[in-house]
Symmetry: C2
Subunit: 668 residues, 2 copies
């Protein structure tokens, strides 16, 4: 009965249906846009799948002349060219508009939104569809430089914001989370010198040389570049990318100190370059405000640099410690899913908080990652340890391959490229010179005070491993409003592609040519087993670690290689070690000795509050271990056999994207 | 020396620096927009963190009157209200524009891009900054209904596309990947009836009743709704959300058949509703094209529905099987990171391929998930099994909490709400009626042919568990161009919030009131240990599984509950079982018997090609197991003790978002 009534109602109603023609056309347009979005994502998904499969084939056949980042770039280039020249089916309609006569607008910036009454003074060739009388909003998109190119705007490109807010944070966090702290801190002086002083010096040299080059070029180009523009270019092209070289290093078991220097420098100089470019932009603003007094603005920019870097560092470290406290004093570890979610969310919050406060999220998330590894990791349940490591490893892998694929594709499809041969040639030469100025003079200075000096072949290798990567590209694509910025983007993309494909492919030969010692960790395989046993002692159950050699996570790979390097710790590092093991570790983790033993007597009420039952009830073995754990290693919270040096338990985690590389050695 | 020259160059150059005022202002604006983006993300990150912590407190204190989805919604509402009423610091500038006099535009759709020459006929109160002479592009955003509301447009809202392309796929994939296949297939008839027939019936009833109600309302409202609009509303409000109810079911160990019916129905009806709403939209288009012949269009819509659903299913299943083949015939399992990446990428590709082909990605990704669990999972290395399960569990948890938080926040901040009390009241009443029409008549019909009939209290519980959730909201927010659609969004949001908070909170009491048997899996804890031993036999090493009870993954939770239910498999299911175990499993996985034994003799050359060495060399125990594995369970590829029924090894994975719920029982 009821069904019949409905059918009648349905048929009656359907005949009275009068959907507006424009609404339907808009729906159709929205559907089309959705399909284009999906197609874009699909292109990258398929490219990544293809890259993964090819990486497998290359690994299987032990191809070494092309690395996987190079592979991703090349696939990207091919597909980008196909998209570009395969012809567009997607037409973008546009009209020119003028403001309404009675407009009262008095800013020097174009408005955010245009309100367009449609149809208005347009002759619509009507008849087939009713014409709407509606007002539509249009939002600001950017400057139109070349009107013809506008139609490929929608092809396989993404909002640059995505790189900064979605793609970079997991990469940088993973670098911090898997930092091999032991060798990092042993080479801290060199790393900081190269990363802080060297990057600034390199940016200045590249900026100045480029400004000189630009002045020698045809007048039209020279006019569009200011010195700040070229300095900005210097800042964005200075950071080096660790991926390719380190993957090869890891495979060939290169000297751990060289590895630590290259990894540490490239992690830190990403952060430095980002802060530096921000300071240059701020200088631009400040300069334009007060007109002529440059020195103040210049000092202001230096102040900005130092202030933003250290504040960002503090934000990241604070969030890391906060997470450690949350995981220590709550029982959230009883629900590993909640715990993992909390870990991921707070780590991402560190990035976002810094960005919201106009600091540098990348620096914050890097140091947050270091703190999470150093403190929070000890409080996590073994399920969460495993899950967070595997999660970030996978995210890092996907994000990095995505970014390199995108560099390739966008070379053809991004509409805001500006090819200028002189600028490109100058960019290649000056970026190599900038790297040389970073490495050789600073190595000379460092060798004056450094016990085991940095040998010449290491210096050459440091120079050679100056590939440019994700951070340079992300900075270049962030702002492409002016012609100068577009020329920078093009040059940066080309430098990234060339260095990754050519230098990355030649890295193995460079190692051999420079006679860098490889295969240091030959005893790695032999030593591996006892460590593994220690890591999963019987009282932990069968949990967490996968001892099958094919299933080792990459973080495990670096243990034990080059244990013989003698310590050369700075006094500062030793002081920090004392603070860390006597105050921070007992406060933030369940490590022994508890605060009740390390703090002075008058603070014992506070110390008792901040010490967990777990800390009191731990066995003596962990007490002993924590005592000797002053070289900044993560200690395992489980008792270990006494015959094994606790320092070797968890010297830190180094991971390059290519965990799979590490496995190659033990598996084939 | 060189440094000095650079400093001189620097100082000289800096004084010649003349950045354009507008460029700097645009940079500043871009920075501001970036900060607002970051702030939006930060708000949700903090809300999710807060939700996670509160969930922990609730679990710790065993609070049952408010569930975590309700919690997420309530936090969202509070923060949304704060954002809304705390006052805006962000001003959006806008001007009205007219087309240029010589425009030649003849479409009935507004153009995609406006080109705006700035400054043009605007009096700029100049002097402090140079005025640019540039053309800017503005892209289409949407209709302006209420000009005053436009300024909160930027507050804590996201592009609806994000829900469909980023948030939904992992949720739906996880549902398919962790489907408890055994009970799902036992109740397949009821599930399909409720999901396919019931959802369509419910949509039709709600649509017709709403159309009647709208006709009784004030004329202004009645005019803006067509019957297709109300039918679309019926389609989008019909799908039910499993999360809250199933979390409680899982905690209380409710009857497995009821569980399977509710889970299966809610997973499938999401897909059905999506296809249905697409068919209604297509009908709209077709109708508007040929003017009057309704029956053709109506039949076309039904054809669309069936065609899109089955094609999407095929796409998903095909990609799932393709992944199985890739993991079977390559040795990518030697590199677990590559393997996991491949798994994630192909699964997402299934969604995107369907979307690009104008099919329904949700249906594709659901069936892709089922195939991945059924075939590919068996080929994966144990590291990848663990990693993919944990990854999707975490993604699912975050995505679901995000969507419920967003529903709460957007109630206040989304600018396109249209509160119409009559429509809202009618929406609440008809959505309850629609659910009743779905359950009671269909249960009556099903009971005519069903061996153990669905008892009355189960029917009441099925009715009661008709919470609305993510899919309804995602469909409603997808198109908010017209006033009718905006009223639908508001009503849908309110229905989701009310059902999740109130019905979700009352579910425990409803179970008690209806005397639904709970605690079925009481022997779960006792049975759990032997299964665990089986899952991690000694020859696997210490790998994969975390046997500490706190670290069980949620997928493990459901094993063993209610094993006593007798089979009532349809003949079709048995046929499928035979095809599956004799053809598909041997083809797609390493399972025994190999194709060489199951295929007819004349196909043996082909069969030999498609059989791996691994399949030949497996022990007899796996042969026996595969034979008895006809009830569609995933079989473990490792030999098992003979005393344990192979069917119990891996009856399938059920997971609700609340894996942590499952752990509660064994842990507190």
């Amino acid at each position: 009965m009821g069904v019949l009534i409905f059918v009648c109602l349905f048929l009656k109603a359907i005949s009275s249906c009068q959907a507006s023609g424009t609404d339907i056309a808009l729906d159709a347009k929205a559907t089309l846009l959705h399909r284009i979005d999906s197609l874009n994502l699909l292109i990258y998904t398929c490219l990544l799948t293809l890259t993964v499969l090819t990486i497998w084939v290359f690994k299987h056949r032990r191809v070494s002349w092309l690395h996987e980042t190079g592979l991703a770039v090349i696939y990207g280039l091919i597909v980008g060219a196909i998209i570009r020249y395969a012809g567009s089916t997607n037409q973008i309609t546009h009209i020119d508009v003028h403001p309404a006569p009675d407009t009262n607008y008095n800013l020097s910036v174009p408005p955010d939104v245009l309100r367009f009454y449609f149809p208005d003074k347009i002759k619509i060739s009507g008849g087939d569809a009713p014409v709407p009388n509606k007002t539509y909003a249009y939002s600001f998109r950017g400057e139109i430089v070349n009107i013809e190119q506008n139609e490929i705007d929608l092809k396989a490109t993404f909002d640059p914001e995505i790189f900064f807010n979605i793609i970079l944070p997991p990469i940088i966090f993973h670098a911090g989370y898997c930092l091999k702290r032991k060798y990092f801190f042993r080479n801290l002086g060199a790393i900081l010198t190269f990363a802080m002083v060297g990057t600034a010096l390199s940016a200045l040299v590249i900026g100045a040389l480029m400004y000189g080059c630009v002045q020698l070029m045809p007048a039209s180009l020279a006019a569009s570049f200011t010195f700040l523009d070229t300095l900005y270019f210097g800042a964005l092209i200075s950071p080096t990318d660790p991926l390719t070289v380190l993957a090869i290093f890891s495979q060939l078991k290169v000297d751990v100190n060289l590895y630590a220097m290259i990894f540490g420098e490239s992690v830190l100089n990403d952060a430095v370059a980002l802060v530096l470019s921000g300071a240059i932009q701020n200088y631009e603003k400040r300069y334009s405000n007060d007109g002529g007094f440059e020195i103040t603005a210049f000092l202001g920019a230096i102040g900005d640099f130092i202030g933003i870097f250290s504040l960002s560092l503090l934000v990241g470290a604070f969030i890391g410690c906060l997470t450690a406290l949350m995981t220590k004093f709550t029982h959230v570890r009883d629900w590993p899913l909640l715990e993992s979610a909390l870990f991921v969310l707070t780590s991402y919050a560190a990035f976002l908080i810094a960005e919201v406060c106009e600091l540098t999220g990348v620096v914050a998330v890097l140091f947050c990652g270091i703190c999470q590894a150093h403190y929070t990791y000890n409080n996590l349940s073994s399920d969460s340890r495993n899950r967070t490591k595997q999660l970030f490893e996978l995210l890092n892998f996907l994000a990095e391959n995505f970014i390199f694929t995108y560099i390739g594709v966008s070379m053809f499809t991004f509409p805001k490229h500006h090819f200028d041969p002189w600028f490109i040639i100058a960019g290649f030469i000056t970026s190599a010179l900038g790297r040389a100025v970073n490495i050789y003079p600073l190595s000379f200075l460092l060798n004056l005070g450094r016990k085991p000096p940095i040998p010449m072949n290491f210096q050459h290798m440091l120079f050679f491993s100056g590939l440019r990567g994700a951070m340079s590209f992300a900075l270049a694509i962030r702002n492409t409003v002016s012609e100068a910025r577009q020329a920078m983007l093009t040059t940066t993309s080309l430098i990234v592609i060339a260095t990754v494909v050519l230098q990355g492919g030649a890295a193995t030969h460079a190692l051999a040519y420079l006679r860098i010692p490889t295969g240091q960790g030959q005893n790695d395989e032999n030593e591996a087993l006892p460590y593994r046993d220690v890591r999963s002692p019987p009282e932990m159950g069968f949990g967490l670690r996968n001892l099958d050699s094919t299933q080792q996570t990459s973080c495990d790979r670096e243990r034990g290689s080059g244990e013989g390097v003698s310590g050369e710790k700075a006094r500062l590092a030793r002081l920090w070690g004392a603070v860390d093991s006597r105050l921070l570790k007992p406060l933030l983790t369940h490590a022994r000795p508890p605060l009740t033993e390390t703090l002075p007597a008058f603070m014992s009420p506070l110390a008792r509050i901040l010490t967990t039952t777990h800390q009191y009830t731990q066995g003596d073995s962990s007490l002993r271990r924590a005592d000797s754990d002053s070289d900044l290693c993560i200690d395992e919270p489980h008792p270990v056999p006494t015959s094994i040096d606790p320092q070797q338990l968890w010297p830190g985690l180094v991971d390059t994207r290519i965990s799979v590389e590490g496995i190659t050695g033990s598996n084939i």
